[in-house]
Symmetry: C2
Subunit: 491 residues, 2 copies
């Protein structure tokens, strides 16, 4: 296997696209902006889903499912929501096709026009709060802690596999609370879940904080986010958790009788991560040799390749491999034996490297004699000879060490690429050279943020939680500022 | 909790609908024919998914994800498929809304009309085979054993929660093979997986067999199915597995180079089960007291209710319950402690009965003294006093016994309600009295099947596998027949 892969330095964007397609993670489809997630990619997404789902359940959430379609009028109920979401979307106007008059195909039946059009959900606040009205009467019905795994559609003009697609898969949590405080606590709890998942499972360090008003979710009072830095110095928003106040409860008239027997509007949150995380994962760790997947999310953690010339050698090796696999599996390690006779070991090495399997074990006749195996780790590409005794414990530790190393490497990269800028020239110079996170003063107005964006394409990615307060001058207007915020160009 | 539930004898259909809504399994939504699956219902669906997914993976399948939308022209490629599927469906014609001139809402932007309309997938053969063309070049690329968990939309006119909804959740397997034999083996393997799942997990006995041409999947060469009998004597198709021949490969030009280096069209299968299984589960086992859920699919298998008057009693009981729960969990049993102080035990008993928790344990001060608990099983409503010693093993056996009992009960019901009919009068009389499966001779023509359907609403549900061959006369035409087939009215 000799996959041609554009290098990151040559063309980062092309490298990413090549990698996604050649590692068979996803494909473009016949439908504009919609991707096919191939088995290799979906297996990683399944591992992400399983872990996130576990974390949601451990924090008291349950899953449910709401309709794919939303009546058009629902979007007009919450003023800022409609501005943000109801514009670029897929609209269902008819419910029947009929044979075309020329007999060569089918056409839309004009008589089957819907009275009110349906929108394919771009996000489900409206349909869910329309439902919650019937679920909530009293404080005893609260809180509602519901999550949904679903597909959503946003008619994006420029799409990129995983990062921005017209249809994508995600989870969206929608919770309902009796008090403002409880809703804010929930919003922050989920932010912590997302950050933990990104750091401990995806091995991606993230900044936690608030969005500026310009970047806030349409309909939210406050948007919390986790923000990661990719290898090309661009930021990627990896998850958001919104405190929605009583906006949707008011729009859909969801009130409850509190303990004092008075009617109050319900407090809300919503939060989500999507298949975009696949893009973040790929871009954070992979290199010019192909994919690098953190062991905790790798569908196959270890691959074993036999090195042999004769059938007899293969037979002896395979017997030993059966033992090794059983030992590894007893530690919960997922392992595959690649004994295909249609490919040479070197070809297999390249393929497994390209597809990002964290650890490769090679075993030949001399290894059998010596009681050893050759172990290659994908992150550093280092090879070592291991004594076969207690191999499962050694591999278990190696996998942990790879997981840690990937995180530390990404953290070091972020630290090297986080800069303070105190002048506008410096700010622009950083953006045009290294990129990265730029910590700079901002006068706190949406107008200034917009002007900075218009001139440089950089936006405020995050106002860090517990941000240090310090006097300063806005990088753009020179007006007084109380704190630095984090700017970057972003995906 | 005193839920009003229509009895089955009174009005079976109303009983079902009441139960689904009052047990909070699903709700109707603001979107025509689309349901909301509530957390109680979704938790059961998740258990079904997890087990099916495991069985698919154990038989070598992997998951992937294909686009929600299908270009309209794709449906015209396979002649019988378009007849069956492209008619009643949701059609996306536009991709943008804009503010309405009166400023009061949003309207479809006429300038954002799609050149070719998209259909919301009613099933994904077309988009998947369009993709497989790029994945398959040689016999080395085969077989492809892919499954997808997804939502689909069919614009049904009359909808019923779970049984027939415009949007539903399902899995659809789509496999590609080098030979006809291999594809047929796959089709039959999946039929066995479905039957095993229905019988061992859902505790529903099923007939395995083939569909008659009239009931075949649009585009299939042969449709295999599992067919179950509901308590009202109507049949329910619980899963289908289709041998598609080379129909879709030809429609989408998917050829491969075989070992002899010749181009051949690829052989295909597709197979699916859906949230309809929820309907089957509910209708098979539940009674006039509410839901009955087989232990293997019950999200909560055991609930413990404390019986107390004083806080001190509650404290002592709760200490014992903590021990019991740990012991039960060590056996993999899911257990909840219902110590809410806002409801009385009797109310709780009714609620857990209504929601179908398989086993209820009550424990009071006298039980503490005697080292006993009261155990109630949901299937028979019997109560017994159990010594607390080794309770976990006893409960484990009880759950197994409930699972078995539900299956045996459903099997006995089916046997009692399977009839042979040798005359047309007998056939009609059975349909109009008990209903059930009717084993009768049929002359093998689609015309006769259609006439029988028109006159009685009964259809051929299944031609059993390894069906006994016997000479006879068609129940309707009197023409010669070689075998009996199974008729019923169906959901």
């Amino acid at each position: 296997m000799a996959k041609e892969l554009t290098t990151r330095v040559e063309n980062y964007s092309q490298w990413y696209n090549d990698l996604v397609i050649k590692a068979e993670l996803a494909d473009n489809s016949a439908v504009r902006g919609c991707m096919v997630i191939r088995p290799n990619g979906y297996a990683i997404w399944e591992k992400m889903q399983a872990q996130l789902d576990k974390m949601f359940k451990e924090t008291g959430h349950v899953n449910a499912y709401f309709p794919l379609f939303i009546p058009k009028s629902f979007f007009s109920r919450e003023a800022s929501h409609v501005e943000g979401f109801a514009k670029e979307c897929a609209v269902v106007t008819h419910y029947r096709l009929k044979n075309s008059p020329d007999g060569k195909g089918v056409v839309v039946d004009p008589e089957a026009k819907l009275e009110e059009e349906y929108i394919v959900r771009p996000t489900s606040e409206t349909i869910i709060w329309d439902t919650y009205r019937t679920w909530i009467q009293s404080y005893r019905d609260l809180p509602i802690l519901v999550n949904q795994w679903a597909n959503v559609v946003r008619w994006e003009m420029r799409t990129r596999l995983f990062l921005r697609t017209a249809e994508f898969l995600w989870q969206e949590g929608h919770t309902a609370h009796a008090t403002r405080e409880e809703a804010i606590t929930e919003t922050e709890k989920i932010l912590d879940v997302y950050a933990d998942f990104a750091e401990k499972w995806m091995a991606i360090p993230v900044l936690k904080g608030l969005k500026s008003p310009n970047e806030r979710f349409a309909g939210a009072v406050e948007t919390y986010c986790i923000e990661a830095l990719m290898q090309d110095g661009k930021a990627l928003q990896a998850g958001t958790s919104h405190f929605l106040g009583q906006n949707f409860a008011k729009a859909f008239d969801v009130q409850f009788l509190n303990k004092e027997n008075q009617l109050e509007y319900v407090w809300a949150t919503s939060w989500g991560v999507s298949t975009r995380l696949m893009g973040a994962l790929i871009m954070s760790h992979s290199d010019d040799h192909g994919l690098v997947i953190p062991p905790k999310l790798a569908p196959t953690q270890v691959v074993i390749v036999p090195i042999y010339k004769t059938d007899d050698q293969l037979k002896q090796i395979s017997e030993k491999v059966v033992e090794i696999m059983a030992a590894l599996r007893s530690k919960g390690i997922t392992v595959k034996y690649d004994d295909r006779d249609t490919f040479k070991p070197g070809w297999k090495f390249n393929e497994h490297e390209f597809k990002g399997i964290p650890v490769r074990i090679a075993i030949g006749p001399r290894d059998l004699e010596n009681g050893t195996v050759e172990v290659a780790r994908r992150d550093t590409l280092e090879k070592s000879v291991y004594q076969i005794t207690d191999l499962e414990t050694k591999i278990e530790h190696l996998l942990e060490s790879i997981q840690q190393n990937l995180y530390q490497k990404a953290l070091a990269f972020r630290e090297e690429n986080t800069f303070k800028a105190d002048t506008w020239d410096e700010f622009k110079r950083i953006l045009d050279t290294t990129g990265g996170f730029i910590s700079a003063h901002w006068d706190g107005t949406p107008e200034t943020e917009q002007k900075i964006k218009d001139e440089t394409k950089a936006t405020i990615r995050v106002i860090p939680l517990n941000n240090k307060q310090e006097e300063g001058k806005c990088i753009y207007t020179g007006n007084p500022s109380k704190q630095r915020v984090i700017f970057a160009r972003a995906y």
